[in-house]
Amino acid sequence: MDDFYRDYILDHYKRPRNFGTLEPHDLEAHDHNPLCGDELGVHIRVEDGKVAELRFHGQGCAISQASASMASEELIGMPIEQIGKLDADWVVDLLGIDISPTRRKCALLSLKVTRGAATGDASWPE
């Protein structure tokens, strides 16, 4: 098995979980990686202050798509206020692979848009 393109990364890339759009939704954000032009958006439906449903949409490399797919499974059920506290390490640990500086934004794009939707803070996670 490849150390970087691990089976579960490729599985999430080829069969991304919670992808598509969500109508109606309560929160949304859309952003892109200026280096490569990859785009990712998120729709979130909120119930009792928590993520009831969440869908990512857009296109990108294996790392950005797998990151969104894997994050979506963790985010559903999470209190909205907790999303603002998630940092870059949260995503990197979730992916479980060594992310080089050149691929870091690929990995972080999903958290960037999710935090943007939840808190309005669209800065890159650190």
Partner: protein, 422 residues
């Protein structure tokens, strides 16, 4: 692997290509020359020698060392002008092609483009030939228009005529060779039609001057720009060739030292061409390096450089058909394209292709190539791109093909082609 008799064999001139990769007895297959080229030892030595032996500021001091530095810089300008088929006085050194375009947009555009006027570009332009015109047009109340690009990556002269017929087009700005599609555009024809319609024409030769025999007097554009670092020269120096009457009538771009004739408290008068457009201390070392790069290309002969790149492009287009699920962009006919091949592989994002190629020491670019409008037209977010220069050989292309086949294996796309993730 076998080299054709007509191909150049100059790899040994390029020190970086002798470098072995960590943990490998092989070097890089550097296939990103449309991004920036590698530099021959002659260029590196010219820069080194300038700093070791001739370093002084130019155009100012009277001592002999300063004269030597001035001669180096102005000598490079003379050779660059001759190489490009231009005059010394109308060959202006800039920081890069981007700055050259901004110079024209600022110094010519603000005087000649007004409300209701049109600036005509094409869908295959680099961002550097889009954004300066967006800034100009929004400031002046002018409209930006774009010529279409066909599925095969070609412009239509008929469409050009139709747009020019409005009489509102003040400037046509077009790339000589597309950095994504490789298309060699009929720029002499475009410049002639623009001129006949009363429009000024700028040609972005960033991808052309390094690899084609180009005579800017034959192209006949009012402005022709290119950059040193893609033409085996250093970063930090670009070139603007301009029509003398236009350059003389234009106000300066940047103000400062060297570009003035005399400075009063309230106003100044301008130096003559080309220095009117060269404010501040010039990129002297870069000038020396670019001069050496031009000498190097001249010695090889641009016809031979073009033949080499055409051969490699044709070989690449042919060999890439062996990779399942791979699609190339741009003209099929190698006579219509320069040494750049953009492609995508179904089911693998270009970034992942570039990452997997990198593991095999194969350097390709992945992304939008600073051409987002073209990417949208092509319906892709990004492409992978291999591009060549004189030091590349068929072995580099073979290594690319091997790496792409291995990338498909890593992604579990065995031959026959599984469905993609999208």
């Amino acid at each position: 692997m076998a080299q054709l008799a007509t191909s150049l064999d100059v790899r040994a001139d390029f020190p970086l290509l002798a470098r072995k990769r960590p943990g490998s007895d092989r070097g890089f297959a550097y296939l990103d020359s449309a991004n920036t080229s590698q530099k021959p030892g002659q260029v590196i030595e010219a820069i080194d020698s300038y700093y070791r032996n001739s370093n002084a500021n130019i155009h100012r001091a009277v001592y002999a060392l300063a004269q030597e530095a001035t001669d180096l810089y102005e000598g490079a300008r003379e050779r660059v002008a001759r190489f490009a088929g231009s005059e010394t006085a109308t060959t202006i050194f800039t920081r890069n092609a981007t700055e050259a375009i901004n110079l024209v947009a600022y110094a010519w555009g603000r005087e000649h483009v007004g409300e209701g006027d049109e600036v005509l570009l094409t869908h295959m332009e680099h961002h550097s030939n889009i954004v300066p015109w967006q800034i100009l047009c929004s400031e002046r109340g002018a409209t930006l228009r774009y010529l279409q690009v066909s599925d095969e990556g070609l412009l239509s002269l008929d469409e050009l005529d139709e747009v020019l017929a409005s009489g509102r087009v003040k400037l046509v700005s077009v790339t000589h060779v597309s950095n994504v599609l490789g298309t060699i555009n009929p720029v002499a024809e475009i410049a002639a039609r623009a001129r006949a319609a009363g429009a000024v024409c700028l040609v972005d030769g960033s991808q052309a001057m390094p690899q084609l025999p180009v005579d800017v007097s034959e192209v006949g554009a009012d402005f022709y720009v290119w950059t040193g670092h893609k033409a085996l020269g250093p970063t930090g120096i670009g070139v603007l060739h301009g029509r003398r009457e236009l350059l003389e009538s234009m106000p300066p771009f940047l103000g400062g030292g060297d570009m003035i004739a005399s400075v009063g408290l309230q106003s100044s008068t301008w130096n003559e061409l080309p220095w009117k457009f060269e404010a501040g201390t010039s990129p002297i070392a870069q000038g020396a390096g670019l001069g050496a790069a031009i000498d190097y290309l001249d010695a090889l002969g641009m016809e031979a450089v073009r033949a080499h790149e055409r051969d490699l492009t044709a070989y690449t287009l042919d060999r890439l058909t062996e990779v399942d699920g791979l699609r190339t962009f741009g003209p099929r006919d190698p006579d219509l394209r320069g040494g750049v091949v953009s492609f995508e592989v179904e089911g693998i994002h270009p970034h992942d292709l570039a990452e997997l190629c990198s593991r095999a020491g194969v350097c390709i670019r992945a992304g939008h190539h600073c051409a987002q409008p073209l990417m949208r037209l092509m319906g892709v977010p990004a492409t992978a791109r291999a591009s060549f220069h004189v030091y590349n050989n068929r072995d580099d292309v073979d290594r690319l093909v091997e790496a792409l086949i291995e990338a498909r294996n890593v992604f579990g796309l065995s031959s026959g082609g599984l469905s993609s993730g999208h």
